[in-house]
């Protein structure tokens, strides 16, 4: 099994850390993993993206053009990565701030209102975990217990008391992910 994922959004949305947690979760189940971020000034408030690969075999290129799954969290990333999903692949996105919804008919499209859910919870910091939950509902490539182990690995110890809150956020995402049909997306415009 090899899963090649792009996560893309604004800097500050927790894009890189979500990818990191996913990679650590893969490690917890003895997979080969790679995490390749965009880096530099664009990290600071601009767009940020990270390529995460989980595989049972040696990973060749950490940098890719097309992906099994794309997690898209802003319009610029939608513009850039909608076409980068393999036919039959997965596109998961948060509609917040999206003006041009995905139009492809040969891929599976899912929506998660991560921003709204996190705002309602009163804690925007859990946003990326809501998204991760939604993704794992669609693509259960790592087990929840391994995600929690991955969290422990990637968070400094002083933040470990926040792990239950993160689990809650993951559950919230899992419960609220929506499968979209092409027509429905179109209607939203």
């Amino acid at each position: 099994m090899t899963e090649e994922i792009i996560i893309a959004g604004f800097g500050g949305q927790g894009v890189l850390s979500m990818g990191k947690i996913l990679a650590y979760s893969g490690m917890m189940q003895d997979q080969e993993v790679s995490w390749m971020p965009s880096y530099g000034p664009e990290m600071r408030g601009g767009t940020a993206n990270v390529t995460v690969i989980l595989s049972d075999n040696r990973i060749s290129s950490p940098y890719l053009k097309i992906f099994d799954s794309a997690i898209i969290l802003n319009q610029q990333s939608m513009d850039k990565f909608e076409e980068a999903v393999k036919p039959g692949g997965v596109l998961l996105y948060d509609p917040n701030g999206i003006t041009e919804h995905p139009k492809r008919t040969d891929i599976n499209i899912f929506q998660i209102e991560g921003n709204r859910l996190a705002t309602e919870k009163g804690n925007l910091k859990i946003f990326n975990m809501v998204i991760l939950g939604a993704f794992l509902k669609v693509k259960p490539i790592v087990k929840l217990e391994n995600v929690l182990e991955g969290l422990k690995k990637s968070l400094p110890e002083r933040y470990h008391h926040l792990i239950p809150l993160n689990k809650e956020a993951i559950d919230l995402g899992m419960a609220n992910v929506k499968t979209l049909k092409f027509e429905e997306v179109f209607n939203l415009n």
Binding site: K20, A23, M27, E32, V33, S34, W35, M36, P37, Y39, G40, P41, I59, S60, S61, P62, Y63, L64, K65, I66
Partner: protein, 368 residues
């Protein structure tokens, strides 16, 4: 772990005595990691942020003059500044390890990954008749492993060793198996092993030790340069490293190192899926270069594609090795753009497999 962090941790674990550096993207994680880890408490290793890359490389020179295991790291513009010191290290025959997490140039260029420092790394770079032993890691694991390997070579030959990485390998995270902690040498051990040449203080039982790269008499300097080149010849015999993947049955070979080797590996998979018999030769050392391996492969393959994040530097060495037996072409994005596996495959098809016909067609189209 990030490649840069793995390298920093490996530095502590290799029993290195000192690190001197200056921040520059995309390698600043090395010194940041070392500062957080406080290796002075773990092993007694010294870490100092210098006022410039020039100062840092000369601190390396100072520490190496006394037989200590010492390292510095930088990225392309910083490497240009370090070249003065590297030339002196080579001339004075001092062991040291230098790391370049390369980015796009020339000039200030970009902070995105690049392999355009190949010429600088293997063709001297600094002034004078010298070479560097150059290791090119292609994974976070190798970022970690090559630190200790580099010091072994540096002390075996009394020569500076360069680890040429790039922003992609430096910034990415992968699984890594760290080597166990090696103890640092005590001063007494160091004096026992390096006392014949290192500046450790002239005791009454020996002559003074002098470290210098100066030979005002030309005959002396020629003698020194010949001594250096004898070492380089020995490196070619004893310490060449490379990896061949799917080369046994290959009709076409991609030659790529570091991050490009990783991306080419994927391109090779895609090519094999399409039915092309494609192999990958990955030079692990850029000097010494797998000249003979390429020369021999040229007898049984139809062409080579050198894949680099540059406009074509290593391709010259591939051509020299192949001696025009079969076509050798280059493909690579530059300026900080990373080529995709699909782009490499396309180039392979156009430039090598279809032997240039597609390319000619395109040119004709453009001219219309």
């Amino acid at each position: 772990m990030k490649g840069n962090e793995a390298l920093a941790e490996a530095t502590i674990r290799a029993g290195v005595d000192a690190y001197f550096g200056y921040p520059i993207t995309p390698q600043s994680e090395v010194i940041e990691y070392l500062m957080i880890e406080q290796p002075e408490k773990r092993t007694g290793m010294i870490v100092l942020q210098a006022e410039s890359e020039l100062a840092a490389i000369n601190m390396v020179y100072g520490a190496a003059s006394t037989g200590k295991k010492v390292m510095t790291s930088s990225s392309s513009p910083g490497m240009s500044l370090k070249l003065e010191g590297i030339s002196y290290l080579a001339g004075a025959e001092l062991p040291a390890v230098i790391v370049n997490v390369a980015r796009g140039g020339p000039g200030l260029g970009t902070i995105q990954p690049s392999q355009a420092d190949y010429f600088q790394a293997v063709k001297g770079g600094g002034h004078g008749d010298y070479k560097l032993y150059v290791l090119a890691p292609a994974s976070v694991q190798e970022m970690s492993d090559f630190v200790e390997d580099a010091f072994e070579i540096a002390f075996k030959y009394h020569a500076p060793v360069l680890i040429l990485s790039d922003g992609l390998i430096g910034q990415m995270m992968e699984k890594v198996q760290l080597r166990p902690q090696k103890p640092r040498r005590t001063d007494a051990e160091l004096i026992a092993q390096e006392g014949t040449w290192a500046c450790t203080g002239k005791t009454s039982d020996r002559e003074r030790n002098i470290v210098t790269s100066l030979d005002l008499k030309s005959e002396k300097l020629e003698e020194r340069v010949h001594r250096l080149y004898a070492k380089y010849a020995q490196m070619e015999c004893e310490d060449l490293r490379y990896e061949m993947i799917n080369c046994e049955d290959a009709d076409y070979i991609m030659v790529a190192y570091g991050s490009s080797a990783r991306i080419s590996l994927k391109a090779m998979e895609l090519a094999r899926d399409k039915g092309y018999k494609v192999g990958l030769l990955r030079p692990i050392t850029l000097f010494p270069f797998p000249k003979k391996q390429l020369f021999d492969l040229a007898d049984r393959v139809k062409g080579f594609l050198s894949v680099e994040l540059s406009t074509g530097q290593m391709v010259e060495d591939v051509r020299l090795s192949v001696e025009f037996k079969v076509p050798v072409e280059h493909f690579g994005r530059t300026g900080g753009i990373i080529h995709t596996p699909e782009e490499i495959l396309e180039a392979l098809e156009q430039k090598i497999i279809h032997n240039g016909t597609v390319r000619h067609h395109k040119t004709r189209e453009q001219s219309i």
